[in-house]
């Protein structure tokens, strides 16, 4: 199968969906000729024109608000938020305006919009361009949240996001834009709420999201050499969450570590761990362990920054100890 980068995969998904549905359009800063600072959208303006690939002023609440209004009245906007860190600026539009329309109207109004943005530290970008903030939106009923972990997921999830009738936040790992993965030429969509078992195993389940799927897979390789069989699962969407697949795995392996690049405090890892504890407690041989990013603002100094995110070695070490029956708890 051909291999393309995550960036190309997103670009293809957008182009295909924009050809398919004339009510779709892209809105954001430097999305047209510049194709965004990450060049993910390069070439789209040539095909679809500046009417459908719209450069906005630096007004995040403003253009997210416009997307909500356009979606409410029959269009399918795709908003580009340059950095995930800017999500704080658009919280009212996203959480008060977009997320609640369907409910507040008793099912009469819907907001079929996509907000695509990114996450991920270790790019030496400092505390305001490195955060992984998906938990903020995952907390809000009415929003769906997708976290692609490779080019394959990026394309399939984006196409589903655009066709979904709800506001969807899709967050790409900005360090993965140039990573290649096999992506079929034929059209495919990845349904929301279907986790992907990346690797089967019997001793411990490693649940990783987004950037942490690769970390979990690398940890599994380390463990394999030591005779520990780790199952790696990528939930792909955290809202909706495919609890069944996670539970099934944990009931089989009886141990689990949840790895996510958001801060550990009150985070995605805690939510998933808690669901496993509630629903698979009697199958567990050890407490479900959380591994999130450290609870510090992301530091600039490369030496410090690298300490803040889970690594394959760290995951492997914790897995080893859990499997050995040691009592350990989250850092």
């Amino acid at each position: 199968m051909r291999e393309i980068t995550l960036s190309q995969a997103v670009n293809e998904a957008l182009a295909e969906e924009m050809r398919r549905d004339p009510t779709t359009f892209i809105l954001g800063e430097d999305v047209a000729e510049a194709g965004t600072p990450f060049k993910v959208l390069s070439g789209l303006v040539e095909e679809f024109g500046t009417e459908r690939v719209i450069d906005t002023p630096i007004s995040e609440p403003g253009f997210v608000g416009l997307a909500v209004g356009a979606a409410l009245t029959g269009a399918r906007p795709i908003v580009d938020l340059m950095f995930g860190d800017f999500i704080y600026l658009v919280m009212d539009q996203l959480c008060n305006q977009a997320a609640k329309q369907q409910y507040m109207s008793g099912g009469k109004l819907s907001v079929p919009m996509v907000l695509r943005t990114n996450l991920g530290a270790t790019r030496r970008s400092g505390a305001q361009h490195s955060q992984s903030l998906h938990v903020l939106v995952a907390h809000i009923p009415g929003l769906k949240v997708a976290l692609p972990s490779s080019a394959y997921e990026a394309k399939g999830l984006m196409k589903t996001a655009i066709r979904d009738n709800n506001p969807v936040v899709i967050i790409e790992d900005k360090l993965m834009y140039q990573d290649k993965a096999p992506v079929p030429e034929e059209e495919y969509l990845i349904p929301f709420g279907e986790a992907n078992i990346k690797r089967e195993g019997t001793d411990i389940t490693l649940i990783g999201t987004s950037s942490m799927v690769q970390v979990a897979e690398a940890a599994a390789k380390i463990l394999e050499a030591e005779g520990i069989s780790a199952e790696v699962i990528d939930p792909r969407t955290i809202v909706p969450l495919d609890e069944e697949t996670l539970l099934k795995s944990v009931r089989k392996t009886s141990r689990a570590i949840v790895i996510d690049e958001g801060h550990q405090n009150y985070g995605i890892t805690g939510e998933i761990a808690s669901r496993l504890n509630e629903k698979a407690f009697y199958y567990l041989d050890a407490p479900v362990l959380r591994m999130g990013a450290m609870d510090v603002p992301v530091p600039f100094s490369p030496v410090l920054e690298d300490l803040t995110v889970p690594t394959p070695e760290g995951v492997a070490e914790n897995a080893r100890r859990l499997c050995a029956g040691e009592m350990i708890h989250a850092a």
């Binding site: 004339p22 009510t23 359009f25 009417e51 459908r52 906005t56 002023p57 007004s59 609440p61 403003g62 253009f63 997210v64 608000g65 416009l66 997307a67 909500v68 209004g69 356009a70 979606a71 409410l72 009245t73 029959g74 269009a75 906007p77 009212d92 539009q93 008060n96 305006q97 329309q101 369907q102 409910y103 507040m104 109207s105 008793g106 099912g107 009469k108 109004l109 819907s110 079929p112 009923p141 009415g142 769906k144 589903t160 066709r163 979904d164 009738n165 709800n166 034929e186 059209e187 495919y188 969509l189 349904p191």
Partner: protein, 348 residues
């Protein structure tokens, strides 16, 4: 009131040749329907039959009616926390409105929205909004959609003087002006945001802010329904013609407190000032006088009309009081919209 505000259009109670007798009577009817709706809502609240937060539109009827009578069902509006007036003016029915205020299943939003989130999509009302200024993006986005999809509807964004302090307004006016969007920003300047006078929170001129973006702006008497309607018709036509956006500041007054519980308010607003607006500038009394003067209706006919509306309201209130609450099973319905599974298949 902001003394520095310029007045570009004359406030006219003069004859309106473009206005048919039916149009004039409908405008009157709609204003009385709003006032009557609010009188009943206020009573429901005071009698403890209605819970929560609600804000009365009484006194500002000419704004909503003058503007909405220049629109058709396909045109959209976004409304505010003080939204009953916009909802009635855009064509909503009493029955579904009272049901919504009482949290009943037959309400416009199945009781899930309430007073501050009432929306009536069938008439283009995209909904009230409990975040001050929260709908400015929505209104502008609706106008962007119209332009992109080649549709000729116009969107009116209602908001208060207090909302002009929200940065969102300036972000979206900038984009609306850059892209010539068919949106009209209608600032209902009732002199107060909550318990604070406008002049204490708004520096300079409100219309000049829109003008800074190159948006044509007007400041007019919001108690004169004819004047409001005349300007609105012109601006709506110009919007359809690709000449938008526009900004209109409408000088008006709310008769009640900020919300229904705001009873003792002399610390921020004198009884004398309230009486002056009610006795000398009431939009309904003024328009009624004009209708009689122009021979469009007799005093008797108007009284009959008023009575009929009172009766309608009474019946709708009784209906809503007796109506069923939503079933408990509805509590987790409508969190997410359904997506047709066929749509999510490749090849479709």
């Amino acid at each position: 009131m902001n003394a520095k505000t310029r007045t570009k259009t004359k406030t006219s109670n003069a004859t309106r040749k473009d206005l048919s007798k039916e149009d004039a009577l409908r405008m009157y009817t709609q204003m009385v329907r709003i006032r009557t709706f609010e009188d009943n809502a206020n009573q429901l609240y005071l009698a403890g039959k209605m819970q929560g937060l609600t804000h009365m539109y009484s006194g500002e009827e000419a704004v909503a009616v003058g503007i909405c009578e220049a629109l058709n069902d396909n045109d959209r509006i976004t409304s505010t926390h003080r939204g009953h007036g916009h909802c009635v003016a855009k064509g909503a029915n009493y029955k579904e409105m009272f049901c919504e205020l009482l949290g009943k299943e037959e309400g416009y939003c199945r009781g899930k929205g309430g007073s501050m989130h009432i929306a009536d999509q069938s008439h283009g009302n995209l909904g009230a909004n409990a975040i001050v200024g929260g709908s400015m993006g929505i209104a502008t986005g609706s106008a962007l959609r119209a332009k992109l999809l080649g549709q000729d509807d116009v969107t009116v964004c209602f908001f208060g003087d207090g909302a002009t302090a929200q940065g969102l307004l300036y972000e979206v006016m900038n984009m609306a002006a850059l892209w010539n969007l068919p949106v009209i920003y209608a600032c209902e300047n009732n002199g107060y945001s909550e318990y604070t006078k406008t002049e204490e929170i708004a520096a300079g001129s409100i219309t000049a802010r829109a003008e800074a973006f190159g948006i044509e702006a007007f400041s007019i008497d919001g108690q004169d329904v004819l004047g409001v309607n005349e300007l609105s018709r012109k601006l709506v036509a110009r919007c359809r013609n690709g000449e938008g956006p526009f900004f209109v500041e409408l000088m008006t007054y709310r008769y009640h407190g900020h919300h229904v519980g705001d009873i003792n308010r002399e610390y921020y607003r004198s009884k004398k000032e309230e009486a002056d607006w009610k006795e000398n500038r009431d939009p309904i009394i003024r328009f009624r006088g004009w209708l009689v003067e122009q021979g469009i209706a007799t005093e008797e006919e108007i009284e009959t009309l008023n009575e009929q509306i009172k009766q309608d309201a009474k019946e709708a209130v009784a209906y809503a009081e007796a109506a069923a609450y939503p079933d408990a099973a509805e509590v987790d319905m409508h969190v997410y919209a359904e997506t047709d599974t066929a749509t999510l298949q490749a090849g479709n």
